[in-house]
Protein backbone atom coordinates (compact mmCIF):
# COMPACT_ATOMS: atom_id res chain seq x y z
CA UNK A 1 0.00 0.00 0.00
CA UNK A 2 1.45 3.28 -1.04
CA UNK A 3 0.01 5.47 1.69
CA UNK A 4 1.64 3.37 4.42
CA UNK A 5 4.35 5.71 5.69
CA UNK A 6 5.62 4.04 8.84
CA UNK A 7 5.18 0.44 9.77
CA UNK A 8 6.44 -1.19 12.95
CA UNK A 9 6.07 -4.96 13.29
CA UNK A 10 6.65 -6.71 16.61
CA UNK A 11 9.68 -4.52 17.25
CA UNK A 12 11.88 -4.67 20.29
CA UNK A 13 14.30 -1.90 21.31
CA UNK A 14 17.34 -2.16 23.57
CA UNK A 15 19.88 0.57 24.33
CA UNK A 16 22.72 -1.95 24.58
CA UNK A 17 23.25 -5.59 23.79
CA UNK A 18 22.16 -7.64 26.76
CA UNK A 19 20.32 -4.73 28.37
CA UNK A 20 16.65 -5.38 29.12
CA UNK A 21 14.40 -4.16 26.31
CA UNK A 22 13.22 -0.54 26.74
CA UNK A 23 10.17 -1.41 24.64
CA UNK A 24 9.00 -4.63 23.06
CA UNK A 25 6.16 -6.23 21.08
CA UNK A 26 5.51 -2.90 19.41
CA UNK A 27 3.31 -2.99 16.33
CA UNK A 28 1.87 0.10 14.70
CA UNK A 29 1.22 1.68 11.35
CA UNK A 30 1.03 5.32 10.29
CA UNK A 31 -0.71 6.18 7.02
CA UNK A 32 -0.89 9.53 5.30
CA UNK A 33 -2.89 11.99 7.40
CA UNK A 34 -3.08 9.70 10.45
CA UNK A 35 -2.77 10.93 13.99
CA UNK A 36 -1.46 8.54 16.59
CA UNK A 37 -0.89 9.23 20.26
CA UNK A 38 1.64 7.31 22.34
CA UNK A 39 0.85 7.83 26.02
CA UNK A 40 2.90 6.81 29.01
CA UNK A 41 4.88 7.97 32.01
CA UNK A 42 8.64 8.07 32.50
CA UNK A 43 10.18 4.66 31.83
CA UNK A 44 7.23 3.50 29.79
CA UNK A 45 9.26 3.28 26.58
CA UNK A 46 7.34 5.94 24.68
CA UNK A 47 10.43 8.04 23.91
CA UNK A 48 12.26 4.87 22.84
CA UNK A 49 9.55 4.20 20.25
CA UNK A 50 9.88 7.77 19.05
CA UNK A 51 13.61 7.28 18.51
CA UNK A 52 12.84 4.05 16.66
CA UNK A 53 10.33 5.77 14.40
CA UNK A 54 12.82 8.42 13.27
CA UNK A 55 15.61 5.89 12.80
CA UNK A 56 17.99 7.04 15.50
CA UNK A 57 17.59 3.70 17.31
CA UNK A 58 17.42 0.45 15.34
CA UNK A 59 15.19 -2.38 16.60
CA UNK A 60 16.95 -5.38 18.12
CA UNK A 61 14.14 -7.58 16.84
CA UNK A 62 11.19 -7.04 14.52
CA UNK A 63 11.15 -4.24 11.96
CA UNK A 64 10.62 -0.51 11.54
CA UNK A 65 9.88 0.37 7.90
CA UNK A 66 9.64 3.81 6.28
CA UNK A 67 7.71 3.55 3.05
CA UNK A 68 8.46 -0.15 3.09
CA UNK A 69 12.21 0.15 3.73
CA UNK A 70 14.09 -0.48 6.97
CA UNK A 71 15.86 2.57 8.43
CA UNK A 72 19.15 0.68 8.37
CA UNK A 73 19.11 0.64 4.55
CA UNK A 74 18.46 4.38 4.28
CA UNK A 75 21.55 6.42 3.64
CA UNK A 76 22.28 9.95 4.76
CA UNK A 77 20.94 11.73 1.68
CA UNK A 78 18.23 9.25 0.76
CA UNK A 79 15.01 11.13 -0.17
CA UNK A 80 13.09 8.79 2.16
CA UNK A 81 14.67 10.74 5.04
CA UNK A 82 12.36 13.61 4.15
CA UNK A 83 9.29 11.53 4.99
CA UNK A 84 9.70 11.50 8.78
CA UNK A 85 10.91 14.41 10.89
CA UNK A 86 10.96 15.07 14.60
CA UNK A 87 9.86 17.85 16.96
CA UNK A 88 11.65 17.79 20.30
CA UNK A 89 10.57 18.37 23.87
CA UNK A 90 13.04 20.91 25.11
CA UNK A 91 12.94 24.08 23.02
CA UNK A 92 16.17 25.21 24.71
CA UNK A 93 18.29 22.21 23.73
CA UNK A 94 16.79 21.51 20.33
CA UNK A 95 18.05 24.63 18.55
CA UNK A 96 21.64 25.56 17.74
CA UNK A 97 22.32 28.58 20.01
CA UNK A 98 24.55 30.19 17.38
CA UNK A 99 22.06 30.09 14.48
CA UNK A 100 19.17 32.52 13.92
CA UNK A 101 15.67 31.18 13.32
CA UNK A 102 15.90 31.91 9.63
CA UNK A 103 19.43 30.47 9.46
CA UNK A 104 18.28 27.23 11.07
CA UNK A 105 15.46 26.73 8.56
CA UNK A 106 17.41 27.99 5.53
CA UNK A 107 20.13 25.40 6.19
CA UNK A 108 17.61 22.56 5.74
CA UNK A 109 16.38 24.05 2.46
CA UNK A 110 19.91 24.51 1.18
CA UNK A 111 20.87 20.93 1.97
CA UNK A 112 17.71 19.28 0.63
CA UNK A 113 16.59 21.51 -2.22
CA UNK A 114 20.05 22.63 -3.30
CA UNK A 115 19.01 26.28 -3.18
CA UNK A 116 21.54 29.09 -3.16
CA UNK A 117 21.82 31.28 -0.06
CA UNK A 118 19.36 33.98 -1.11
CA UNK A 119 16.48 31.81 -2.39
CA UNK A 120 16.98 29.52 0.60
CA UNK A 121 16.41 32.45 2.95
CA UNK A 122 13.29 33.45 1.01
CA UNK A 123 11.95 29.89 1.26
CA UNK A 124 12.83 29.77 4.96
CA UNK A 125 10.88 32.99 5.51
CA UNK A 126 7.83 31.39 3.88
CA UNK A 127 8.07 28.34 6.11
CA UNK A 128 8.53 30.46 9.24
CA UNK A 129 5.49 32.51 8.24
CA UNK A 130 3.55 29.26 7.98
CA UNK A 131 4.29 28.58 11.68
CA UNK A 132 3.39 32.16 12.58
CA UNK A 133 6.84 33.77 12.80
CA UNK A 134 7.42 36.88 10.72
CA UNK A 135 9.37 40.11 10.87
CA UNK A 136 12.43 40.91 12.94
CA UNK A 137 11.85 37.93 15.26
CA UNK A 138 13.16 35.44 12.71
CA UNK A 139 16.59 37.04 12.64
CA UNK A 140 17.06 36.36 16.36
CA UNK A 141 19.06 33.54 17.85
CA UNK A 142 17.29 31.13 20.23
CA UNK A 143 18.37 33.11 23.31
CA UNK A 144 16.24 36.04 22.07
CA UNK A 145 13.12 33.94 21.53
CA UNK A 146 10.41 32.85 23.96
CA UNK A 147 9.77 29.16 24.62
CA UNK A 148 6.77 29.12 22.31
CA UNK A 149 8.68 30.89 19.53
CA UNK A 150 11.55 28.41 19.83
CA UNK A 151 9.15 25.51 19.54
CA UNK A 152 7.75 27.10 16.38
CA UNK A 153 11.26 27.32 14.93
CA UNK A 154 11.73 23.64 15.79
CA UNK A 155 8.52 22.80 13.95
CA UNK A 156 9.56 24.96 10.97
CA UNK A 157 12.91 23.17 10.79
CA UNK A 158 11.09 19.83 10.68
CA UNK A 159 8.70 21.13 7.99
CA UNK A 160 11.49 22.56 5.84
CA UNK A 161 12.35 19.27 4.18
CA UNK A 162 8.70 18.57 3.38
CA UNK A 163 7.88 15.64 5.68
CA UNK A 164 4.71 13.56 5.59
CA UNK A 165 4.93 12.49 9.23
CA UNK A 166 5.90 14.56 12.26
CA UNK A 167 7.00 12.65 15.33
CA UNK A 168 6.56 15.05 18.25
CA UNK A 169 8.02 13.97 21.60
CA UNK A 170 6.33 15.93 24.39
CA UNK A 171 6.26 19.06 22.21
CA UNK A 172 4.48 21.22 24.78
CA UNK A 173 5.37 19.80 28.17
CA UNK A 174 8.06 22.47 28.73
CA UNK A 175 5.65 25.30 27.89
CA UNK A 176 3.13 27.36 29.85
CA UNK A 177 -0.52 26.41 29.35
CA UNK A 178 -1.34 29.51 27.29
CA UNK A 179 1.74 28.94 25.09
CA UNK A 180 0.92 25.25 24.79
CA UNK A 181 -2.47 26.24 23.34
CA UNK A 182 -0.74 28.17 20.55
CA UNK A 183 1.48 25.24 19.62
CA UNK A 184 -1.38 22.72 19.75
CA UNK A 185 -3.47 24.95 17.48
CA UNK A 186 -0.52 25.23 15.11
CA UNK A 187 -0.14 21.45 14.94
CA UNK A 188 -3.85 21.15 14.13
CA UNK A 189 -3.53 23.82 11.42
CA UNK A 190 -0.56 22.03 9.87
CA UNK A 191 -2.38 18.72 9.85
CA UNK A 192 -5.20 20.34 7.91
CA UNK A 193 -3.16 22.50 5.53
CA UNK A 194 -0.40 20.00 4.74
CA UNK A 195 -2.24 16.74 5.34
CA UNK A 196 0.55 15.87 7.78
CA UNK A 197 0.41 12.67 9.76
CA UNK A 198 1.27 13.14 13.43
CA UNK A 199 2.73 10.81 16.01
CA UNK A 200 2.34 12.54 19.35
CA UNK A 201 4.31 11.19 22.27
CA UNK A 202 3.03 12.59 25.55
CA UNK A 203 2.36 11.89 29.20
CA UNK A 204 -0.65 14.18 29.02
CA UNK A 205 -3.86 12.36 28.06
CA UNK A 206 -5.74 15.61 27.57
CA UNK A 207 -3.26 16.74 24.90
CA UNK A 208 -3.36 13.32 23.20
CA UNK A 209 -7.16 13.35 23.34
CA UNK A 210 -7.19 16.77 21.75
CA UNK A 211 -4.79 16.03 18.88
CA UNK A 212 -5.11 12.37 17.92
CA UNK A 213 -7.65 9.92 16.59
CA UNK A 214 -5.91 6.75 17.69
CA UNK A 215 -3.73 6.17 20.71
CA UNK A 216 -1.76 3.52 22.50
CA UNK A 217 -1.02 3.44 26.22
CA UNK A 218 2.46 2.27 27.25
CA UNK A 219 3.47 0.87 30.61
CA UNK A 220 6.95 -0.50 31.39
CA UNK A 221 7.90 -1.04 27.77
CA UNK A 222 4.68 -2.65 26.67
CA UNK A 223 1.50 -1.51 24.99
CA UNK A 224 -1.27 -2.16 27.51
CA UNK A 225 -4.11 -0.77 25.48
CA UNK A 226 -4.70 0.80 22.08
CA UNK A 227 -7.61 1.96 20.01
CA UNK A 228 -9.52 5.07 18.98
CA UNK A 229 -8.56 7.84 21.42
CA UNK A 230 -12.16 8.74 22.19
CA UNK A 231 -13.21 5.26 23.27
CA UNK A 232 -9.90 4.73 25.07
CA UNK A 233 -10.79 7.67 27.28
CA UNK A 234 -14.50 7.08 27.65
CA UNK A 235 -14.30 3.33 28.10
CA UNK A 236 -10.81 2.29 29.24
CA UNK A 237 -10.29 -1.47 29.44
CA UNK A 238 -6.94 -1.63 31.21
CA UNK A 239 -6.65 -0.58 34.88
CA UNK A 240 -3.55 1.48 34.12
CA UNK A 241 -5.40 3.49 31.48
CA UNK A 242 -8.12 4.11 34.03
CA UNK A 243 -5.50 5.30 36.55
CA UNK A 244 -4.03 7.67 33.97
CA UNK A 245 -7.44 9.15 33.22
CA UNK A 246 -8.16 9.60 36.91
CA UNK A 247 -4.86 11.43 37.27
CA UNK A 248 -5.64 14.20 34.78
CA UNK A 249 -5.57 17.15 37.17
CA UNK A 250 -8.68 19.25 37.57
CA UNK A 251 -10.91 17.05 35.45
CA UNK A 252 -13.74 17.15 37.96
CA UNK A 253 -13.59 20.87 38.60
CA UNK A 254 -13.68 21.95 34.97
CA UNK A 255 -16.71 22.69 32.88
CA UNK A 256 -17.43 20.02 30.26
CA UNK A 257 -16.34 20.48 26.65
CA UNK A 258 -18.14 23.30 24.93
Amino acid sequence: MSDLLLEVTDAEFRYAKGAPPAAHHITLAVRAGDSLGIVGESGSGKTTIGRGLVGSLHPSAGAVLVQGRPWKSIRRRDPVRRVVQMVFQDPYASLNPMLSAVGTVAEVVRVWDGLAARPAVARAEEILAEVGLTGEVITRRPAGLSGGQRQRVGIARALACGPQVLVADEPTSALDVSVQANVLNLLLDLRESRGLALVLISHDLSVVDYLTERAMVMYRGEVVESGPTGSLLSDPQHPYTRELIDSIPGRSALPPAA
Binding site: Q89, Y92, A93, S94, L95, N96, P97, V111, G154, A158
Partner: protein
Protein backbone atom coordinates in the same frame (compact mmCIF):
# COMPACT_ATOMS: atom_id res chain seq x y z
CA UNK B 1 1.78 54.75 36.65
CA UNK B 2 3.49 56.29 39.62
CA UNK B 3 7.21 56.57 39.68
CA UNK B 4 8.78 56.26 43.08
CA UNK B 5 12.36 57.30 43.54
CA UNK B 6 14.17 55.01 45.87
CA UNK B 7 17.52 55.18 47.52
CA UNK B 8 19.85 52.88 45.62
CA UNK B 9 20.32 49.59 47.42
CA UNK B 10 23.90 49.24 48.64
CA UNK B 11 25.93 46.89 46.49
CA UNK B 12 26.51 43.52 48.17
CA UNK B 13 29.88 43.38 49.91
CA UNK B 14 32.49 41.41 48.04
CA UNK B 15 35.99 40.39 48.92
CA UNK B 16 38.48 43.02 47.78
CA UNK B 17 40.62 40.40 46.05
CA UNK B 18 37.90 39.54 43.59
CA UNK B 19 39.00 42.08 41.02
CA UNK B 20 36.35 41.52 38.35
CA UNK B 21 33.73 42.62 40.83
CA UNK B 22 35.18 45.97 41.63
CA UNK B 23 32.36 48.39 42.00
CA UNK B 24 32.83 50.10 38.65
CA UNK B 25 33.13 46.71 37.01
CA UNK B 26 29.94 45.57 38.68
CA UNK B 27 27.97 48.58 37.58
CA UNK B 28 28.88 48.23 33.93
CA UNK B 29 28.54 44.62 32.89
CA UNK B 30 31.44 44.96 30.49
CA UNK B 31 33.57 47.11 32.80
CA UNK B 32 35.85 44.23 33.73
CA UNK B 33 36.32 43.28 30.10
CA UNK B 34 37.07 46.88 29.11
CA UNK B 35 39.60 47.31 31.93
CA UNK B 36 41.29 44.02 31.04
CA UNK B 37 41.50 44.86 27.35
CA UNK B 38 42.74 48.37 28.21
CA UNK B 39 45.57 47.11 30.42
CA UNK B 40 46.55 44.43 27.91
CA UNK B 41 46.49 46.99 25.10
CA UNK B 42 48.75 49.28 27.13
CA UNK B 43 51.26 46.50 27.73
CA UNK B 44 51.27 45.51 24.05
CA UNK B 45 51.69 49.16 23.04
CA UNK B 46 54.63 49.66 25.40
CA UNK B 47 56.39 46.51 24.17
CA UNK B 48 56.22 47.95 20.67
CA UNK B 49 56.92 51.60 21.38
CA UNK B 50 59.49 51.61 24.20
CA UNK B 51 62.26 49.65 22.38
CA UNK B 52 61.70 51.89 19.32
CA UNK B 53 61.86 55.23 21.13
CA UNK B 54 64.25 54.50 23.97
CA UNK B 55 67.68 56.17 23.67
CA UNK B 56 69.24 52.96 25.02
CA UNK B 57 69.30 49.57 23.39
CA UNK B 58 68.62 46.46 25.43
CA UNK B 59 72.28 45.45 25.48
CA UNK B 60 73.92 48.93 25.90
CA UNK B 61 75.68 49.76 29.08
CA UNK B 62 73.46 52.76 29.71
CA UNK B 63 74.54 53.89 33.12
CA UNK B 64 76.13 53.03 36.46
CA UNK B 65 75.35 49.42 37.44
CA UNK B 66 72.48 49.02 39.91
CA UNK B 67 71.34 52.65 39.88
CA UNK B 68 67.83 52.94 41.35
CA UNK B 69 64.82 54.06 39.29
CA UNK B 70 65.17 57.63 38.04
CA UNK B 71 63.87 59.78 35.21
CA UNK B 72 66.67 58.57 32.90
CA UNK B 73 66.12 54.93 33.90
CA UNK B 74 62.49 54.54 35.09
CA UNK B 75 63.09 50.91 36.19
CA UNK B 76 66.75 51.50 37.20
CA UNK B 77 69.75 49.63 35.81
CA UNK B 78 70.94 46.06 36.27
CA UNK B 79 74.19 44.53 37.51
CA UNK B 80 76.10 45.55 34.36
CA UNK B 81 74.38 48.94 33.98
CA UNK B 82 71.83 48.07 31.28
CA UNK B 83 68.49 49.94 31.32
CA UNK B 84 65.88 47.68 32.97
CA UNK B 85 62.99 49.70 31.47
CA UNK B 86 63.89 49.00 27.85
CA UNK B 87 64.91 45.43 28.69
CA UNK B 88 61.54 44.82 30.38
CA UNK B 89 59.49 45.99 27.40
CA UNK B 90 61.69 44.35 24.78
CA UNK B 91 61.59 41.21 26.89
CA UNK B 92 57.82 41.56 27.01
CA UNK B 93 57.76 41.65 23.24
CA UNK B 94 59.67 38.36 23.11
CA UNK B 95 57.42 36.83 25.76
CA UNK B 96 54.20 37.93 24.10
CA UNK B 97 55.28 36.66 20.67
CA UNK B 98 56.06 33.30 22.23
CA UNK B 99 52.76 33.24 24.13
CA UNK B 100 50.77 33.99 20.98
CA UNK B 101 52.51 31.19 19.12
CA UNK B 102 52.07 28.74 22.01
CA UNK B 103 48.37 29.49 22.47
CA UNK B 104 47.49 29.48 18.77
CA UNK B 105 49.34 26.27 18.00
CA UNK B 106 48.13 24.40 21.11
CA UNK B 107 44.51 25.42 20.65
CA UNK B 108 44.45 24.52 16.96
CA UNK B 109 46.04 21.10 17.45
CA UNK B 110 44.06 20.44 20.65
CA UNK B 111 40.69 21.43 19.18
CA UNK B 112 41.26 19.34 16.08
CA UNK B 113 42.21 16.24 18.04
CA UNK B 114 39.38 16.82 20.53
CA UNK B 115 36.70 17.06 17.84
CA UNK B 116 38.06 14.00 16.02
CA UNK B 117 38.00 12.05 19.29
CA UNK B 118 34.43 13.13 20.11
CA UNK B 119 33.03 12.51 16.63
CA UNK B 120 35.13 9.49 15.58
CA UNK B 121 34.73 5.80 16.30
CA UNK B 122 35.11 4.55 19.88
CA UNK B 123 38.49 3.12 18.92
CA UNK B 124 39.80 6.45 17.59
CA UNK B 125 38.47 8.11 20.70
CA UNK B 126 40.17 5.76 23.12
CA UNK B 127 43.50 5.83 21.25
CA UNK B 128 43.53 9.65 21.15
CA UNK B 129 42.46 9.98 24.76
CA UNK B 130 45.11 7.53 26.02
CA UNK B 131 47.67 9.65 24.15
CA UNK B 132 46.47 12.89 25.74
CA UNK B 133 46.35 11.23 29.17
CA UNK B 134 49.93 10.08 28.69
CA UNK B 135 51.07 13.59 27.75
CA UNK B 136 49.21 15.25 30.59
CA UNK B 137 50.59 12.84 33.18
CA UNK B 138 54.18 12.97 31.88
CA UNK B 139 56.46 15.34 33.84
CA UNK B 140 56.46 18.43 31.64
CA UNK B 141 59.87 19.83 32.65
CA UNK B 142 61.65 16.73 31.38
CA UNK B 143 60.07 17.13 27.94
CA UNK B 144 60.95 20.81 27.94
CA UNK B 145 64.59 20.15 28.77
CA UNK B 146 64.82 17.31 26.22
CA UNK B 147 63.36 19.40 23.42
CA UNK B 148 65.46 22.42 24.35
CA UNK B 149 68.50 20.16 24.12
CA UNK B 150 67.49 18.71 20.74
CA UNK B 151 66.99 22.16 19.24
CA UNK B 152 69.86 23.85 21.06
CA UNK B 153 71.63 24.59 17.76
CA UNK B 154 68.67 26.51 16.37
CA UNK B 155 69.62 30.14 16.11
CA UNK B 156 67.57 33.28 15.67
CA UNK B 157 64.42 32.77 13.53
CA UNK B 158 62.59 35.85 12.29
CA UNK B 159 61.59 37.95 15.29
CA UNK B 160 62.39 35.09 17.68
CA UNK B 161 65.75 35.27 19.50
CA UNK B 162 67.87 32.17 20.03
CA UNK B 163 66.16 29.63 22.29
CA UNK B 164 62.66 31.01 21.79
CA UNK B 165 61.35 28.52 19.23
CA UNK B 166 62.62 25.38 21.01
CA UNK B 167 60.82 26.66 24.11
CA UNK B 168 57.60 27.24 22.14
CA UNK B 169 57.77 23.77 20.56
CA UNK B 170 58.41 22.16 23.94
CA UNK B 171 55.44 23.88 25.55
CA UNK B 172 53.08 23.15 22.63
CA UNK B 173 54.01 19.46 22.71
CA UNK B 174 52.66 19.22 26.27
CA UNK B 175 50.05 21.93 26.15
CA UNK B 176 47.73 20.87 23.30
CA UNK B 177 46.49 17.91 25.33
CA UNK B 178 44.58 20.06 27.81
CA UNK B 179 42.67 21.69 24.93
CA UNK B 180 41.85 18.21 23.63
CA UNK B 181 40.41 17.19 26.99
CA UNK B 182 38.33 20.36 27.19
CA UNK B 183 37.07 20.24 23.60
CA UNK B 184 36.27 16.52 23.62
CA UNK B 185 34.21 16.85 26.80
CA UNK B 186 32.30 19.87 25.51
CA UNK B 187 31.78 18.30 22.09
CA UNK B 188 30.45 15.08 23.63
CA UNK B 189 27.92 16.93 25.77
CA UNK B 190 26.99 19.10 22.78
CA UNK B 191 26.59 16.01 20.62
CA UNK B 192 23.93 14.60 22.92
CA UNK B 193 21.87 17.79 22.67
CA UNK B 194 18.75 17.67 20.56
CA UNK B 195 19.91 20.19 17.98
CA UNK B 196 22.68 17.82 16.93
CA UNK B 197 20.18 14.93 16.88
CA UNK B 198 17.96 17.07 14.64
CA UNK B 199 20.90 17.73 12.33
CA UNK B 200 21.58 13.99 12.10
CA UNK B 201 17.92 13.24 11.36
CA UNK B 202 18.05 15.85 8.58
CA UNK B 203 20.90 13.93 6.98
CA UNK B 204 23.55 16.62 7.48
CA UNK B 205 27.09 15.44 6.84
CA UNK B 206 29.50 14.99 9.72
CA UNK B 207 31.69 17.82 8.48
CA UNK B 208 28.67 20.16 8.36
CA UNK B 209 27.64 19.15 11.86
CA UNK B 210 31.16 19.80 13.11
CA UNK B 211 31.77 23.09 11.35
CA UNK B 212 28.30 24.65 11.56
CA UNK B 213 26.90 23.19 14.75
CA UNK B 214 29.71 22.07 17.05
CA UNK B 215 32.66 24.42 16.51
CA UNK B 216 30.73 27.73 16.72
CA UNK B 217 29.26 26.59 20.04
CA UNK B 218 32.67 25.56 21.35
CA UNK B 219 34.35 28.79 20.30
CA UNK B 220 33.61 30.89 23.38
CA UNK B 221 34.77 28.15 25.73
CA UNK B 222 37.98 27.60 23.78
CA UNK B 223 38.74 31.32 23.53
CA UNK B 224 38.16 31.78 27.27
CA UNK B 225 40.54 28.92 27.93
CA UNK B 226 43.09 30.42 25.53
CA UNK B 227 43.12 33.59 27.60
CA UNK B 228 43.66 31.64 30.82
CA UNK B 229 46.30 29.61 29.02
CA UNK B 230 48.10 32.82 28.01
CA UNK B 231 48.65 33.54 31.71
CA UNK B 232 50.00 30.05 32.39
CA UNK B 233 52.18 30.21 29.27
CA UNK B 234 53.91 33.41 30.43
CA UNK B 235 54.61 31.84 33.80
CA UNK B 236 56.00 28.73 32.09
CA UNK B 237 58.13 30.75 29.67
CA UNK B 238 59.40 32.98 32.45
CA UNK B 239 60.21 29.89 34.50
CA UNK B 240 62.36 28.28 31.80
CA UNK B 241 65.53 30.35 32.35
CA UNK B 242 65.56 28.96 35.90
CA UNK B 243 66.31 25.49 34.42
CA UNK B 244 68.60 26.80 31.74
CA UNK B 245 66.12 26.61 28.88
CA UNK B 246 64.19 29.29 27.02
CA UNK B 247 65.50 32.48 25.44
CA UNK B 248 69.28 32.64 25.66
CA UNK B 249 71.05 35.75 26.98
CA UNK B 250 71.78 38.49 26.21
CA UNK B 251 68.28 38.70 24.61
CA UNK B 252 65.94 39.91 27.37
CA UNK B 253 62.91 38.05 28.62
CA UNK B 254 60.75 38.57 31.74
CA UNK B 255 61.90 35.37 33.41
CA UNK B 256 65.62 35.86 32.79
CA UNK B 257 65.36 39.50 33.90
CA UNK B 258 63.87 38.48 37.22
CA UNK B 259 66.34 35.62 37.59
CA UNK B 260 69.28 37.99 37.02
CA UNK B 261 67.99 40.25 39.80
CA UNK B 262 67.62 37.57 42.46
CA UNK B 263 71.28 37.77 43.48
CA UNK B 264 70.96 41.47 44.30
CA UNK B 265 67.34 41.42 45.50
CA UNK B 266 68.10 43.02 48.90
CA UNK B 267 70.21 45.86 47.57
CA UNK B 268 68.65 46.47 44.15
CA UNK B 269 65.04 45.26 44.34
CA UNK B 270 64.03 47.06 41.15
CA UNK B 271 65.86 44.67 38.84
CA UNK B 272 63.44 41.89 39.89
CA UNK B 273 60.40 43.78 41.12
CA UNK B 274 59.80 46.11 38.17
CA UNK B 275 59.53 43.37 35.51
CA UNK B 276 57.60 41.34 38.08
CA UNK B 277 55.04 44.14 38.42
CA UNK B 278 54.58 44.20 34.66
CA UNK B 279 54.01 40.44 34.62
CA UNK B 280 51.48 40.84 37.44
CA UNK B 281 49.55 43.53 35.58
CA UNK B 282 49.60 41.32 32.48
CA UNK B 283 48.16 38.44 34.54
CA UNK B 284 45.44 40.65 36.06
CA UNK B 285 44.49 42.01 32.63
CA UNK B 286 44.08 38.53 31.17
CA UNK B 287 42.17 37.18 34.15
CA UNK B 288 39.73 40.10 33.88
CA UNK B 289 39.19 39.21 30.23
CA UNK B 290 38.91 35.49 30.94
CA UNK B 291 36.38 36.04 33.73
CA UNK B 292 34.07 38.10 31.54
CA UNK B 293 34.32 35.55 28.74
CA UNK B 294 33.57 32.69 31.13
CA UNK B 295 30.60 34.63 32.49
CA UNK B 296 29.34 34.80 28.91
CA UNK B 297 29.77 31.05 28.49
CA UNK B 298 27.77 30.45 31.68
CA UNK B 299 25.11 32.93 30.66
CA UNK B 300 24.80 31.45 27.19
CA UNK B 301 24.24 27.96 28.55
CA UNK B 302 20.76 28.84 29.59
Amino acid sequence: MTTTTLAPTPAPRRHWLRLPHWRFAGRHPNGALALGLGLLGLIVLLTIVVPMLSPHSATDIAGTPLSPPSLAHPFGTDTVGRDVFVRTWLGGRNDLLMVILVVLASSTIGTLVGVVAAMGSPLTDSVLMRLTDAIISFPGMIIVMAIALVFSDMGEVGPFPRGALPAVIAIVVINWASYTRLVRGEALSMRSRDFVTAATLLGYSKSRIVTRHLLPNLATTVVAYMVVDAIVAVVTIAGMPFIGAGIQPPAPEWGSLMLAGTTVLYTAWWVTVMPGLVVTVYGIALSLIADSLLAQVDGGAR
